[in-house]
């Protein structure tokens, strides 16, 4: 299926290639470079590029293009999903997935790619199995390796691929048995000029960090499972049990994993935690524009709105902005016309505002497009949908684990049109 993989950095250099079948010349990437040139923005490169003999399927992540070479029919999502899985694995192994990290660990990268695909078909993509096969590099291990000459490759042969529970290895041992679950919700919203909500949705995930000895069997139940409209699970979750009782029952993988992602039905009214008052205007004939922005909390269930960051792409005609923030700092990049304002925490008593003027190109006509304002924020200790975990039970092991649940709400794609 996947013939070859090329990694290309932002400046257009191929810095890694791997072939699973016969070698494909890297000149095939020329077609990709053509498409890259045609696309105005890096994210506008079409994910699938046909060439006379091959098809190139690429994903862009962390400013690196992962270009897979395909020779015959294969579901494109299959390849795309796999490439993302590769990136996730690299991130898992090296902490970051940058060109430098890949170059530094090129041997581990190669070993990983070798294990993940066999003849172009995915073989072992589960991070737990991979970690048994190839130990991730850590500082300590690097030091030890250089002294003792030992290696990253696991000494024993992994058994994970063979077990009934392919996502968990056997013989896990911890002194402190802990299980943490983070319920993170993101609000995607489009707010129109007048402040009314055009569309708003809540997407949530339950991320887990489970460090438990042996083969624990966990069940997690919610107070209000009806809220969940559409869910997708980690393969470890027993689907039948969920269908019947709305209980998550699973043998967890070891370490970090995403247990569940869900969507809260759009029929429910979504609470919008912040509001924006804006007044952005350009006068005909003058080279000045006015910019006023005030943020305020709204429906936050008494929690503080933190880490607020406002960004906006101003019209091309704007030369500079001379603004005055009541709190936080702002920057304006005159080249990309990107205005960003790091607000911090919203104090309901003293609402943060950003006011000032913009200078326009002299002689240019009044821009008729309005900038959109993107907002990011975080609210701790709150799941905005109201989802609550009821209880977590463990079966199959004798010890008492430490259990922790954390809630958080974030802005997803939160846009205000002006």
């Amino acid at each position: 299926m996947i013939h070859s993989l090329f990694l290309i950095n932002a400046s257009g250099d191929i810095f890694l290639e791997k072939h699973w079948k016969s070698v494909v010349s890297r000149s095939v990437c020329d077609y990709f470079f053509e498409a890259l040139e045609r696309a105005t923005e890096p994210e506008n490169v079409p994910p699938v590029i046909p060439t006379p003999h091959h098809f190139l399927i690429n994903v862009l992540r962390h400013r690196i293009y992962f270009v897979a070479v395909i020779q015959s029919e294969v579901p494109p999502l299959f390849v795309i999903e796999f490439l993302h899985r590769v990136v996730d694995t690299f991130q898992d192994y090296f902490g970051v997935c940058t060109e430098a990290a890949i170059k530094d660990n090129v041997v581990v990268v190669y070993e990983l790619l070798e294990e993940m695909l066999d003849n172009g078909f995915p073989l072992a993509t589960e991070s737990n199995i991979l970690k048994e096969l190839i130990k991730p590099p850590t500082i300590l291990r690097t030091v030890v390796n250089t002294i003792t000459g030992s290696t990253n490759v696991g000494e024993q042969l992994p058994t994970g691929q063979l077990s009934v529970v392919p996502w968990r290895r056997t013989g896990v041992k911890y002194t402190n048995n802990e299980a943490y679950f983070d319920v993170v919700e993101e609000i995607d919203a489009i707010i129109d000029k007048s402040g009314s909500t055009i569309t708003a949705e809540i997407q949530g995930v339950v991320d887990a960090c489970v460090k438990l000895t042996g083969m624990p069997d966990l069940t997690l139940s919610f107070m209000n499972p009806r809220l969940l409209d559409d869910v997708s699970f980690h393969p470890c979750v027993r689907f039948k049990r969920w269908e019947a009782e709305r209980i998550l029952s699973f043998i967890p993988p070891d370490g970090n994993f995403r247990l569940l992602s869900y969507h809260v039905s759009s029929q429910n009214l979504v609470a919008i935690p912040v509001y924006v008052k804006h007044n952005i205007s350009f006068r005909e004939g003058s080279s000045q524009g006015r910019f006023e922005l005030t943020l305020g909390p709204k429906q936050t269930m008494g929690k503080a709105v933190e880490s607020v960051l406002v960004s906006s792409q101003l019209p091309r005609g704007v030369l500079n902005a001379n603004l005055n923030p009541s709190q936080g700092t702002y920057t304006f990049d005159p080249v990309t016309k990107l205005l960003s304002w790091d607000v911090g925490k919203i104090n309901p008593q003293k609402l943060p505002s950003l006011k000032g003027s913009m200078s326009l190109q002299t002689g240019a006509s009044k821009p008729d497009e309005n900038p959109t304002i993107n907002i990011q924020f975080k609210i701790q200790q709150l799941a905005i949908s109201g989802l609550k975990v009821n209880r977590l039970d463990m079966y199959g092991e004798k010890y008492k684990p430490f259990k922790g649940i954390k809630y958080m709400t974030k802005a997803g794609k939160f846009q205000v049109r002006t």
Binding site: V23, S72, E73, E114, V153, V231, R316
Partner: protein, 1046 residues
């Protein structure tokens, strides 16, 4: 093998020197390394496509290897500087320290990753294939898989390590050995791979079986001739009940024999039930395959609805006189329409795939979605919408693919996505390609109820900064206006407002769209046309100008005053316009001339004259044509009468269609669908069958599966379904081999061998009717034919293998029936200018070195003068081979002959030993290639020892074939004679007179070679060879078969 790998230092040097020579020739010959022993026909085995890759890879290596821009100079410098660096890598690889080896391998792998050519390190690396250190080993595998194709000969050195791995008690080692073995793309090991795959397919461990399934497509792409045998293996693995295997074997099925849908029947229900536990990638492949399967086996669940639709449409359009007939047809259709009942298997598939919509893997969700779209009853398709909308939250590449598919779905089933309309609203941060796809979906979703919200949304999009997106939005508005009559005026007004936009692109796009809209009802909109006529002064975009001119020309009667004026302006600027605008000016002139010739006659003449001398021949042609048509002259043809009709015909309004209109004939989710063009290897989604095929083919008799199914049943099946019997007959010859090597292979082989021996059995059971006997005969006949076909099919492969084995400089005559020692010619009298040289394998132990084969060489001097100083020079040997020369012959008098003995260690391979034979005047290039039978020496074993040793060499090491003895092989004596003539073996005493046993060991490594010939009635026999070296075993079987069947 150990010996092979622990090459003595001089052997390494030999390898290097071979390497050096070969590389010297490389440029002249071909980028693929061809040591001269390798025959040309390897090339034919390599696909032309592959060759292309090789070439580009091989040539690219030098130039493109350098990190930066590939340049000739850099390429040169890298060639110059690399040998130095590679030398120290070689040294490190040769050292005893694992840490040094590891460091070297790491550096080599890093170079491979950067695309540098490290093929010259091959001999040094391949030695470490048996290294104890796991990481070194792994990296060597990485290297080997990358370069084996280019250095086929040297890659063979590593094979036996993997062969040993295939027998390891640890399943993971077995699996990884098979994985690497099958990844080495070397044609000569195809038979070994085939054996290994067959063996692994019946391995105890499901993980090994999975690896076997993975190996199938690899072998198929290496040698498509193995297809039939591979299909047998696929069939066997499809019956596997473990989830681990299911995904991989279906993947192999899809790649090797996607059209053999008959193999799926028996496994269909099992696959459906296993599906949820299969790993995610396997799920995708299985679901896609099952979609195709279901399309061939089940009835269209929407058949009644589609019939209803058809009939209502017919009634709508039917003209009066046809009505009666139509009614009849309709009635017939109604009669034909039976109440639809879904096949339970169809339901099973739908039910078992549904939970997978909850998968975290987008590819799985998409696969289920397309399955539902193509297979489910209309009422149930809706459930996929939610899951697809969820995928829209994912990475933009995923969004891109999902939106493409949603766009196709919304055309067919609009209602499905209507509740999720708002999820397709566009954000300013979306990439343009996503925006345009979302717009497409929104347009498809628009209907009378939601159009007002959609239009409001579109209005905000028009203010976006992204101009491509704005243009697409305007077109979307146009499409909404054409599709939904009620909003046409609103849209038109909105678009007209856009005409005063500051951005020219926006205006131009609006003009084009307005033109299309106006065509629908031009009468009411003369003021818009007037407005647009004014715009022609300002708009510069050619497409927009052309559109305006066309509009004015087409509806010149609505704007009688303005039209001539516009023509006047355009005539002024004619020469500076773009081509499409010029064409429209000519058009406008012609139309005006026909309607209002008084005012525009001169202008038209002027424009036509300008056009006559235009640079573009299209425009010149058009001008000439129009002049002939409209300007009345004496000679004007018949057509000019109709000029007005021609130009001012009523033109149908354009239909604004979605580009996704007819995409659903491609299977959704496929690459071909995305590109809207068939990609290589795409399997058409078949149309629903008219009537359902027999559903009982999917019945599986569960309790009987482990036991032998009763013969009668089997026969019945065979009778009514020839397809099946074929496939079973196919597996006949090989199955017997299986049943001996592997007792656990199951009932199939047992029953098959049962049948093959049924000749005597049927006689015993007197009750069986005659007809049945006939059937049986028929069956046998069929089987025999199959076998014949098989041998025919095999022939080319065998031949090529043989050609590999036999060097072109001499030929082996057919093996003589006598046991006498055969002489081969080394140098012919004529080519040797009077010196004739012959050699034979004397079968005597070579005393100076017991690991060498003794070759007796006879020189005959046929000249009139004496030949002096006969000796050997410059042996060029495969790595590991050694040669011990004979002492120089000082003088060979005229007419005399002399015999000497030399020793060659062939390293247990049939590769030729090449060297030069020198006299005092000349040098002759000669080569000696041993038949496989000469690579061994006899060993004396007792019957018990023989059995014990044979017990150790089961499984992969055992090769057995059935054969028919030649006419002269009447008794045991002849058999013994023939076998010993073919191979240097000794007879082992044996109690049974039906069996002949022989034993020997290979000369250089001392591996045992055990041969058993079991004779059966009717001149049939079975030949079994047990040998650790499978290459030797296979070749030996071939030779002995040939000798015995003559």
């Amino acid at each position: 093998m150990q010996k092979l790998l622990q090459l003595p230092v001089n052997a390494v040097n030999i390898v290097k020197s071979v390497q050096g020579v070969v590389q010297g020739q490389e440029e002249a010959l071909s980028p693929v390394l061809t040591p001269d022993s390798s025959p040309q026909n390897w090339y034919s085995a390599v696909q032309p496509e592959e060759l292309r890759h090789l070439r580009s890879g091989g040539m690219g290596g030098g130039g493109e290897g350098s990190e930066d821009r590939p340049g000739l100079e850099e390429g040169l410098t890298s060639v110059q500087s690399q040998p130095l660096r590679h030398d120290d890598l070689k040294e490190m690889l040769d050292s005893n320290k694992d840490s040094l080896k590891l460091e070297a391998m790491k550096r080599i792998v890093a170079m491979i990753a950067r695309g540098k050519n490290t093929s010259d390190l091959f001999p040094a690396v391949v030695k470490n294939v048996a290294c104890k250190n796991i990481e070194v080993k792994k990296l060597v595998y990485v290297y080997l898989v990358r370069y084996a194709e280019e250095q086929q000969d040297l890659a063979l050195l590593s094979i036996s390590t993997f062969q040993r791995g295939l027998k390891d008690p640890n399943q993971l080692i077995r699996a990884s050995a098979l994985r690497v073995l099958s990844s080495i793309r070397v044609t000569i090991i195809v038979p070994i791979m085939m054996l290994a795959i067959k063996e692994a397919a019946s391995d105890m461990s499901p993980y090994v079986r999975k690896t076997a399934a993975h190996a199938i497509p690899k072998l198929h792409s290496l040698d498509p001739e193995q297809k039939d045998q591979l299909i047998e293996v696929i069939e066997k693995l499809l019956a596997d009940k473990t989830t681990l295997v299911a995904g991989s074997v279906v993947m192999a099925f899809e790649e090797v024999c996607p059209d053999r849908i008959d193999l799926i029947h028996k496994n269909y229900r099992k696959l459906c039930n296993l599906l949820i536990d299969v790993e995610e990638w396997g799920q995708v492949v299985i679901i896609n395959m099952l979609t195709r399967y279901a399309r061939t086996q089940f009835l269209n669940p929407n058949i009644n609805e589609s019939l209803l639709e058809d009939s209502s449409e017919k009634a709508f359009y039917a003209s009066d006189d046809e009505e009666d007939e139509d009614k009849k047809a309709e009635a017939a259709a109604l009669v034909k329409r039976k109440p639809y009942v879904m096949d339970p298997d169809h339901r099973l598939l739908l039910r078992n795939t549904k939970p997978l919509l909850q998968s975290r893997n987008a590819a799985v969700v998409m696969a289920v979605a397309q399955l539902y779209f193509h297979l489910a009853p209309k009422a149930e398709v809706g459930i996929i919408a939610k899951a697809l909308v969820r995928l829209m939250r994912s990475h933009s590449e995923v969004q891109y693919v999902v939106l493409q598919n949603v766009a196709t779905m919304t055309i067919k089933r609009r209602g499905m996505f209507e509740p999720y309309l708002k999820s397709f609203y566009i954000r300013s941060t979306d990439p343009t390609q996503i925006k345009i796809l979302k717009l497409e979906v929104l347009t498809n979703l628009a209907n009378e109820t939601n159009i007002s919200t959609i239009l409001r949304e579109f209005q905000t999009y028009i203010k976006s900064m992204d101009k491509d997106f704005v243009a697409a939005s305007i077109q979307a508005i146009g499409r909404c206006a054409t599709n939904i009559g009620e909003v046409r005026d609103t849209c038109l007004n909105g678009l007209v407002q856009l005409l005063s936009n500051r951005d020219e692109l926006v205006v131009a796009e609006s003009v084009v769209v307005i033109k299309k809209l106006l065509q629908m009802q031009p009468e009411q909109h003369s003021d818009i046309i007037k407005h647009m006529a004014k715009l022609i002064d300002n708009i510069q975009v050619p497409m927009a100008r052309a559109s305006i001119l066309w509009l004015i020309g087409e509806y010149c009667e609505h704007v009688p005053k303005i039209a001539p004026d516009v023509l006047r302006k355009m005539a002024k600027t004619f020469t500076n316009e773009e081509d499409i605008v010029k064409l429209q000016i000519i058009n406008l002139a012609a139309k005006l001339y026909l309607t209002n010739s008084k005012q525009t006659k001169l202008l038209t003449q002027y424009v036509l004259n300008l056009a006559k001398y235009d640079q573009n021949y299209d425009i010149r042609d058009r001008a000439r044509f129009i002049r002939q048509l409209i300007v009345p002259t004496d000679k004007s043809g018949a057509l000019s009468k109709y000029a007005k009709k021609l130009f001012l015909a009523l033109k149908p309004a354009p239909v604004l269609e979605s580009p996704f209109k007819d995409r659903d004939h491609f299977q959704l989710g496929s690459l071909s669908h995305l590109l809207n063009a068939k990609a290589g290897g795409y399997q058409e989604l078949p149309e629903w069958p008219e009537s359902a095929p027999d559903p009982s083919v999917r019945n599986v008799e569960i309790p009987d599966w482990s036991k032998c199914t009763s013969r009668k049943d089997r026969k019945e099946k065979k009778l009514d379904k020839p397809f099946y019997s074929d496939s079973e007959g196919d597996s006949g010859p090989t199955e017997s081999a299986d049943s001996e090597s592997d007792s656990g292979s199951g009932s199939e082989s047992a029953s098959a061998s049962d049948e093959s021996g049924s000749g005597s059995e049927s006689e015993e059971s007197g009750e069986e009717t005659e007809s049945e006997k006939e059937e049986e005969d028929e069956e046998k006949e069929k089987k025999r034919k199959k076998r014949l076909d098989k041998t025919k099919a095999k022939k080319p492969a065998e031949e090529s293998a043989e050609r590999c084995a036999i060097h072109t400089s001499y030929q082996i005559n057919t093996i003589a029936p006598s046991g006498s020692i055969k002489m081969y010619e080394l140098l012919h009298r004529i080519t040797g200018e009077g010196l004739a040289v012959e050699y034979c394998f004397s079968r005597q132990p070579f005393s100076p070195d017991p690991n060498m084969v003794a070759v007796q060489i006879q020189f005959t001097n046929n000249t009139n003068s004496e030949t002096k100083n006969l000796h050997i020079e410059e042996p060029r040997l495969q790595s590991g081979m050694r040669i011990r020369e004979f002492a120089e012959i000082e003088v060979l008098a005229a007419g005399e002959s002399v015999t000497v003995v030399m020793g060659i260690d062939f390293c247990d391979s049939t590769q030729a030993a090449n060297f030069q034979l020198c006299t005092h005047t000349r040098k002759f290039f000669v080569s000696i290639q041993p038949p496989v039978g000469e690579l061994m020496t006899p060993v004396f074993l007792t019957e018990n020892d023989f059995k014990k040793e044979q017990g150790k060499l089961m499984g992969m090491n055992e090769i057995s074939e059935k054969l028919t003895l030649g006419e002269k092989c009447v008794n045991e004596h002849v058999i013994v004679e023939r076998v010993t003539a073919t191979a240097n073996l000794s007879r082992v005493p044996c109690g049974s007179d039906k069996e002949c046993r022989f034993a020997g060991k290979t000369v250089s490594s001392g591996c045992l070679v055990l041969v058993t010939v079991t004779t059966k009635e009717g001149g049939r026999a079975q030949l079994t060879v047990n040998c650790e070296k499978m290459v030797i075993g296979t070749m030996l079987v071939k030779d002995i078969m040939q000798a015995l069947s003559q």
